[in-house]
Symmetry: C2
């Protein structure tokens, strides 16, 4: 399975993205689908983290993945090969983010029957994706240790809109000046409700906690 | 010197950014100022690299720095304290890039007399800044080892518009699966004229080569 479907995303025609996002969220909820929007800077380890997490969850949940990228099909192929779950590649055609209508185009390319959890891997960018509600049930962002603990100071909106922050690449903590407690403090300044889970996608450390968090959220939405 | 001027950048009113950028480039050239636009993803080490490089160059060139950030004054203060050169902080007010008119607002906040080299540290983002000509004499981007060697495949325009790519954080190469030769190959696919210099801002490795590159470019512009 080294070929995945590629969807060329068109620019949205909707003017009111917030309303469209609320509509999409309600539709997905009625179908029993929990949409998780995963954001981060380039190279923070989104795809590797997702592969580990999907493999930990796929016996419990029906999962489908949308990989957004400006160009290239690298990530969707990787996900499909490493996990076997349904995966589509979304080409944003140079666009720096996804909004609700663009997310809907991706979802339309997936068969959502028997899917409990749809994951959107957003474009690697700490600025623009934070500005657009995708219709997701929850937002998660990955900050990797080499990027530094000051990022919540510099990209405030990203940390404000996220329900969960994963601190990835904890294995290289000894080689970088990364202060985890200070980072948690800066995150809380932006969003005191944001949960923080340190993980290492390479070694698997903390992935069980991320998987548990997802299961809890998916169950909570189904119970509503 | 722990206070630096902060400029709140306003949205541009010019419709034709390319023409405006050409105009700014010509104006700067006539004043003997070389403008270097430095771009990268968040956390790739732009500020640390600039501090090292400015300290290596400040006896040879008159230097001024503009630090663009969505929020926070962390970087301009750092630069001013560590190098003593003129530094201003540009707040983009949530905007994900700078264009020529926004760059001009920053330059207006600097005294350019006796300045040979003005450096613009752009917003940390591999997507949007690549789309807007700032009027710079040259574009440089920093890719750090932890981000991975596949980034030229995923952010093609950024590598297409850059004259120079610095590969930073070479000291942590042993802890990451980073293939330097493959990375150079991918960069060449996007832009066969782009030069590549591996550096380590932490240890100073390669900074002399980057400084030499800048001196060559500044001299070449003055000689034209």
């Amino acid at each position: 399975m080294d070929k995945v479907r590629v969807i060329e995303i068109k620019k949205s025609v909707f003017e009111d993205n917030d309303r469209d996002a609320d509509r999409l969220r309600a539709e997905l909820k009625s179908k029993g689908v929990f949409l998780l929007n995963v954001m981060s800077a380039p190279g923070s380890g989104k795809t590797t983290t997702l592969i580990r997490t999907i493999n930990a969850l796929k016996s419990k949940l029906g999962i489908a993945v949308m990989e957004a990228d400006i160009d290239s099909d690298v990530d969707a192929v990787k996900i499909a090969q490493a996990t076997g779950v349904k995966s589509v590649q979304l080409h944003t055609g140079g666009m720096c983010h996804l909004d609700a209508e663009m997310t809907r185009q991706g979802l339309d390319g997936l068969d959502l029957r028997e899917v409990d959890l749809a994951i959107l891997e957003n474009v690697g960018n700490l600025v623009c994706p934070a500005e657009f509600d995708t219709g997701a049930s929850a937002n998660c962002m990955i900050l990797s240790v080499p990027e530094g603990h000051d990022k919540p100071l510099k990209y405030p909106l990203m940390f404000t809109v996220c329900d969960l922050v994963l601190i990835n690449k904890t294995d290289v903590m000894p080689y970088f000046d990364f202060d985890l407690e200070k980072c948690k403090e800066y995150i809380a300044m932006r969003n005191k409700n944001a949960e923080v889970i340190p993980v290492c996608a390479k070694t698997g450390e903390g992935i069980d906690k991320f998987a548990d968090w997802i299961v809890r959220k998916v169950s909570a939405q189904k119970a509503l």
